[in-house]
């Protein structure tokens, strides 16, 4: 297999393993044992489990509850179980806690009459008096209850702008449990130092009938003090335009309008308070440790007894030093390769989804096996982020999966990013956070409008779609009716067949197929993989000046995702020589640019009819530029099948005793992100401590 990429292996700035071009997958997969798990035959699985069975007494650690993953589901479950009296150990593959919650915007859509909805309904402030702006939504817009929330998230009649029905196949038992636990989870978060803004709309599958979304905030102040609710401008990453901090990988947002003056908001104001509270309450953490296997009494029967987890150190890309978590109280320093951790009561799998594992992604959508396109936030999370570890380990002990088709129906699941010139195109980390070096560049975010300014080519240098339409992504279902149903806002009628009558479905079918074109076979794709290859935005110096694009560090750098040359021919050669996934020469690029310039002169683009969309500009003034265009796989919806207590269920529909899962590790519940994860964690933590101690 003639794969490329060898030349950059010794670049310390880029962590390998999850780059996963095919050659590396085979190499690291077998050596590491993780990817290989999915590849083992039935006999090998049997042999391996028997061997574990024989060593059941050889545990390195023992606690009541072991949690794999310290993100939104894991941290919540940990605190909840600890509150209920259990000893808790969280294992996380990264050097710091929070997972993707830490680089999220903290759009936390819950509802069902939750305490923040009720607060806003009464027009009150929060208990500390930080919220000084009036409620954004009118009282009737936050007048919610559990029945309405449950109806919303199982509403078969709602279609999204891809004309699919995201809620129709949600597992009803899961949806019911989720709705019932939303109010308690909101209160739980408040009780653990999380502050919420005013409610405004919903987010990502939170239902169409009421406003349910609040973001998390802290107040700018002289010190960073979770108990007091303050953060310094430096820690919040708002002191300088091009700098983040070790505390906040992503710069915090101005929350003046939803909280009041000097409020800043994003996932930092959710993740750090929860982490602070967990450490304060005595939850223990083992970082740099990648969850590998579930240990069960027998291969596919009996109780779950614990897990094995492997040392996965992350080192600073420049200094080589072992990366350290921001806070360290409660950390267990353990550097042995593999340790076995006994869970006396239960194991909770909260290690995320599968979006970072191209081989497993093919289980859901074969086109996304292309390893040139990573998951979101991969620099922050490292090679172990979203690696399908829960799914792989679960399958090996007999777990069932659910919701395999649900990945397809949410607009951020996979789409084309408007941030060009960086591999890690679905985050906005700047220098200052220790993992920026893994990114190398922040990327140039040109927005949809920027796609009018260049041509987009595939791995052989040919255009493949109307560039202007390439980044289009359909909206998501949410209040007050983001195109999700004919009746918007309070006028939405749940369960009304008119929501999906034929005319409406046709109207909703606005999904652009640029993504399909981008992932299509082309002359450069070779059997057996037929990889479609990387994508490039090609433009000239005039485009830079027209748009004021800042093509300098930290936005772009010499990291294989940005190239500049005096001729188009030289540009093509540089890409081929310098990009890790460019497997073939861009042999058509010069001809493509020449044809395009002819189209510009003629005022018509016979290939993709660009002239109907926006002015066309020639590409003729050197230097010429190429910036990577990334397809992002962000969410994971399919995953382990669980019941309403977050217990993992096997292929016969029976509970696997002692095994729980939540967040993106589970399937069957199409609900985006944090709202799902926190409630799952809360439910799992609640029930895990009810398990007998063995």
């Amino acid at each position: 297999m003639a794969t490329r990429g060898d030349r950059r292996d010794n670049d310390p700035g880029i962590e390998r393993e999850k780059g996963l071009n095919r050659r590396e997958f085979v190499k690291t997969g077998v050596a590491a044992g993780l990817g290989s798990g999915a590849l083992l035959g039935a006999d090998e699985v049997q042999a391996r489990v028997s061997e574990t069975g024989a060593e059941q007494s050889a545990w390195d650690y023992a606690v009541d509850i072991v949690i794999a993953g310290g993100g939104c589901a894991g941290l919540t479950a940990a605190i909840r179980a600890r509150d209920l009296g259990a000893s808790v150990l969280v294992v996380d593959q990264n050097f710091d806690l929070g997972g993707r919650m830490l680089h999220s915007a903290a759009r936390l859509s819950l509802g069902g009459g939750d305490p923040v909805q009720q607060r806003d309904m009464r027009g009150e402030s929060d208990r500390e008096g930080f919220v000084t702006v009036a409620p954004i939504e009118d009282p009737e817009e936050v007048d919610d209850d559990i029945e309405l929330l449950f109806t919303d998230i199982t509403d078969w009649s709602v279609v999204d702008p891809k004309a699919q029905s995201p809620y129709r196949y949600n597992e009803r038992e899961l949806a019911r449990a989720w709705a019932e636990n939303c109010p308690a989870t909101r209160q739980f978060l408040i009780d653990n130092y999380v502050r919420f803004s005013r409610i405004s709309g919903t987010h990502g599958g939170g239902g169409l009938s009421r406003a349910r979304l609040a973001t998390c905030f802290l107040m700018l102040g002289d010190t960073t003090d979770i108990k007091a609710g303050t953060i310094t401008a430096e820690d919040a990453g708002v002191a300088a335009l091009e700098r983040t901090s070790a505390f906040s990988p992503v710069q915090m947002n101005n929350a003046t309008r939803s909280v009041g003056p000097n409020a800043v908001a994003n996932g930092v104001a959710l993740s750090r308070p929860l982490e602070f509270s967990a450490r304060e309450k005595g939850v223990e953490f083992m970082l740099h440790r990648r969850f590998d296997e579930i240990v069960r009494e027998e291969a596919v029967s009996g109780r779950v007894l614990g897990i094995t987890a492997r040392y996965s150190p992350r080192h600073h890309p420049e200094t080589g030093e072992l990366l350290q978590s921001f806070w360290r109280n409660g950390n267990i320093d353990e550097q042995r390769d593999t340790v076995r951790i006994r869970a006396r009561q239960a194991v909770i799998l909260a290690s995320g989804g599968h979006a970072g594992n191209p081989e497993v992604r093919s289980m859901f959508y074969p086109a996304l096996r292309e390893p040139a396109f990573p998951t979101s936030g991969q620099a922050l999370l490292g090679p172990g982020g979203q690696d399908a570890s829960a799914l792989i380990a679960g399958l090996r002990v007999g777990a069932n999966l659910a919701g395999m088709q649900q990945n397809i129906s949410y607009s951020t699941t996979f789409h084309i990013s408007t941030r060009l010139g960086t591999r890690d195109a679905y985050t906005s980390m700047m220098p200052g956070h220790p993992t920026f070096g893994f990114r190398g560049s922040a990327g140039l975010n040109v927005g949809n409008a920027g796609f009018e300014e260049f041509i987009a080519v595939n791995q052989v240098g040919k255009r493949f779609f109307n560039e202007v339409r390439l980044p289009a992504r359909p909206g998501t279902n949410g209040y007050p009716g983001d195109r999700g149903a004919p009746g918007r806002g309070l006028a939405h009628t749940p369960l009304d067949w008119r929501n999906c009558r034929k005319e409406w479905v046709r109207e909703m079918y606005s999904y652009d197929h640029g993504l399909d074109a981008a992932l299509a076979m082309n002359e450069g794709s070779e059997p057996p993989d037929y990889y479609s290859g990387p994508l490039w935005a090609i433009f000239d110096q005039d485009a830079v000046e027209r748009n004021g694009w800042e093509l300098r560090f930290p936005y772009v750098s010499d990291n294989g995702y940005f190239f500049r040359a005096d001729t188009v021919e030289d540009l093509a050669e540089q890409i081929y020589a310098g990009h890790e996934f460019q497997r073939v020469p861009l042999s058509h690029l010069a001809e493509t640019v020449a044809s395009w310039n002819g189209y510009v002169e003629a005022g018509a683009d016979p290939d993709f009819e660009r002239e109907a969309e926006a002015p066309m500009n020639s590409i003729g003034t050197p230097p010429f530029y190429a910036l990577s265009i990334m397809v992002i796989w962000h969410d994971s919806y399919g995953g382990l099948r669980v019941n309403g207590r977050q217990q993992v269920v096997d292929m016969k529909g029976e509970v696997i005793p002692g095994l729980y899962a939540g967040g993106e590790a589970v399937g069957g519940f199409n609900k985006h992100g944090l709202g799902k994860g926190h409630v799952h964690g809360y439910i799992a933590g609640t029930h895990a401590v009810e398990e007998p101690s063995t």
Binding site: E137, Q251, T256
Partner: protein, 245 residues
């Protein structure tokens, strides 16, 4: 609360080039597309109650009302002082005959007569004439950072920093100028007041709104001048958006 749900793409489609004009009403339809369709929509259905429907308005038989509304504004509708009597006639003819409307034609002389009653118009200015102050743009930035930046991006290029958010219309530079060319700042002012911030329209004061416009102009490279932009649709309607002279 008012919810419009006009997303990025909604706006992009509203301002897309006009459809092929009907015979005989080409000028009227083009003017409608340029000046009216932003709010009243191609279909004339508007988005009541914010933007009234024109395809079901009994009062379109009243020519004086139409002319006065276009030339001098009406409630939240901005004035369009730059339109000539002939252009107002074309527009009135188009609106009275479009969709299912059947209110009959109007003569330019009749329009001229109404216009005479409205008095003389002040001269038009351009956004490039120094129509705001530096201090106003600085105030506008503070409002923008809190109310607009999350969706429209720190660089006003319609690219939110948060990757979970979809792109939005740019508020400065080439694309903004192309989309708004030929319209006045009064249209921008009233449209923005009625629709933004998307989650809470009408929540900014008129002064904050006009300060944000000053900031948008300054980021777009337009020069500051000695006087502030006033939050007054009449004066704003005399400032036209267009390319750098």
């Amino acid at each position: 609360m008012l919810k419009l749900g006009v997303g990025a793409f909604g706006l992009a489609f509203i301002i897309a080039p006009a459809a092929v004009a009907q015979e005989g009403s080409e000028q009227g339809q083009q003017l409608y597309q340029q000046h009216c369709a932003l709010c009243h929509k191609d279909s004339g259905a508007g988005d009541p109650p914010t933007f009234p429907a024109l395809n079901a308005d009994d009062q379109l038989g009243d020519l004086v009302r139409i002319v006065r509304s276009i030339k001098a504004g009406r409630r939240r509708m901005p004035p369009f002082p730059s339109l000539t009597a002939e252009e107002v006639s074309s527009l009135a003819n188009y609106i009275r005959d479009a969709w299912a409307n059947d209110f009959g034609g109007v003569a330019t002389e009749d329009v001229t007569a109404v216009l005479r009653g409205l008095g003389d118009a002040d001269p038009m200015a351009s956004v490039w004439d120094g129509v705001f102050t530096e201090a106003q743009a600085t105030r506008g930035q503070a409002v923008y950072d809190g109310a607009c930046a999350l969706c429209h991006g720190r660089r006003l290029n319609g690219a939110p920093d948060d990757p979970d958010l979809r792109s939005t219309p740019p508020l400065a530079r080439a694309r903004f100028l192309r989309v708004w060319e030929g319209r006045s700042l009064a249209t921008l002012f009233e449209y923005t007041r009625a629709t933004m911030p998307e989650d809470n329209p009408n929540s900014l004061t008129v002064q904050e709104n006009v300060d944000v416009i000053a900031y948008m102009l300054s980021v777009g490279g337009m020069p500051a001048g000695a006087d502030e932009l006033q939050p007054d649709p009449r004066s704003l309607s005399r400032v036209a958006v267009g390319p750098r002279p």
